[in-house]
Symmetry: C2
Subunit: 179 residues, 2 copies
DNA sequence: TTGGGCATGTAAGATGTTACATGATTAT
DNA sequence: ATAATCATGTAACATCTTACATGCCCAA
C-alpha cells in the first residue's frame, strides 16, 4: 500500500471549509498561520500540487475576474469524496517531531554543564514568541462562544496547542531551577 | 548561511557518548529506540552519512575483528570539536511536528460528528502502545539514582516524553467525554 | 508611467522513503 | 550443507527547501 499523501488532503480540507473559492497564496498562508503547529508547507509545494489536483479532477480552477494574475480553486464532487474518506479513516501513525533543542539536551551528559541554561533560555524565548501568536489567533477567531461550535476542530487543536506550549515553558523553567 | 545538517551531529553524539566504537546498525537502532520521539532516521540514510563523515575526517572506520561484514566507527578530534560547537550553539527553530491525527480533527467542523470518537480511540491506542515502550526504556535505563546523574540529558527528555504522552492521552479521554 | 511589491511559478539541490541487492553469519 | 537471518549498501522515487524568474497590480 503506497503511503498516503497528506498535502492534497490538507488543500481539500481548506477549500471545502472556506466560504468562497480560494487562491494558492491564501492556501499557503492559511496552512502556515492556522496549522503550522501540525504541518509545514512552502508555497513552492502548493502550486504544483494545485495543478496536479486539478488534472486529477479533485478541484477546479477559475480565473479571478478582473485579475490576470490570480486563480481561484473550488472543490469537486470527487474531491469532496476523497476528503470525506480521508477524514473517516483513523490513522495509524504517531505524530512525528523534529526537535533540535531536545536533541542537544539529550547529548549533554553532565547535569551541571554550563551550556544547559543557555540552551533552555533560548528555547523559552522562542516558545514565548510562538505562544503569543497562538493566543492572538485564539482571541481573533474565537471571540464569541458560537465560534467555538462552528469550528470545533479548530478550537480544539488551538486550545490544545496553547496548553502544550505553556506546559513546555513551565517545564523548561522548572528544569532551570533544578540546577 | 546554509542550513545545519542534523544527522551527522546526531551520529557524532552517539559515537562520542558510547563506551566503545559502534556500527552503522547500532547507530540506526539507537536513534530509533532512544530518540525516535525527537528525530527519525532510516538505515539507508545512515550508511551514506557514515561514508561522508569518514571522508570529511569527522569519524574513523575500523573493520570488526573476525567479522568481514561489520565496521566500527570512532570519533576524531575534529569530530569532537564539531559536536561540542553544535551543542554549545542554542538553536533558533521551534520543534516541528507532523501530526495527521490532529489535522483530521482540525478539519471536522461539527462538534457531534460521528467520526471524532473513532479517530480519538485509535489515537489513544497508538499512544498507549508508545507510552509502554517509553516506560520500559525508563525502567531499563534508570533503575538506580546514579544512572540519572550519569545520563542527565537522556533522563530529562525521557521523563518529559512520558509526561507529554500521558498528558495527551488524558486530554483525548477528556475530549471524548465532552460529547 | 514607472517602480516596487506581490502572486504565481520553476529549477536545482538536499533530504527522506521504500524497495531491492549482496554477501556474511548463524541456525538447523 | 543448506536455509534463514542479518548488516551493509544501492537505487529509484518522493518530498522538501531555497533561490530565482516572471509578469501583473497598485501607488507615487
Amino acid at each position: 500500500m503506497p503511503k498516503q499523501r497528506i498535502l492534497p488532503h490538507i488543500i481539500l480540507g481548506i477549500i471545502a471549509t472556506s466560504e468562497a473559492e480560494v487562491t494558492g497564496k491564501q492556501i499557503t498562508d492559511y496552512v502556515q498561520r492556522e496549522i503550522g503547529e501540525y504541518w509545514q508547507v512552502a508555497h513552492s509545494q502548493v502550486y504544483p500540487e494545485l495543478k496536479r489536483m486539478t488534472e486529477d479532477g479533485w478541484i477546479v480552477c477559475h480565473p479571478v475576474p478582473n485579475n490576470e494574475k490570480e486563480k481561484q480553486y473550488g472543490i469537486t464532487e470527487l474531491g469532496l469524496e476523497m476528503l470525506e474518506n480521508w477524514l473517516s479513516e483513523p490513522n495509524h501513525e504517531l505524530p512525528l517531531q523534529k526537535d533540535i533543542f531536545t536533541l542537544k539536551l539529550f547529548f549533554i551528559k553532565d547535569k551541571d554543564d554550563q551550556r544547559i541554561p543557555k540552551l533552555i533560555h533560548a528555547q523559552i524565548d522562542l516558545l514565548n514568541k510562538h505562544l503569543e501568536h497562538l493566543e492572538q489567533r485564539k482571541n481573533n477567531l474565537f471571540a464569541s462562544p458560537e465560534d467555538m461550535l462552528n469550528r470545533y476542530g479548530h478550537y480544539l487543536i488551538l486550545t490544545r496547542a496553547i496548553a502544550r506550549n505553556r506546559d513546555q515553558i513551565k517545564w523548561l523553567k522548572q528544569t532551570l531551577k533544578m540546577k
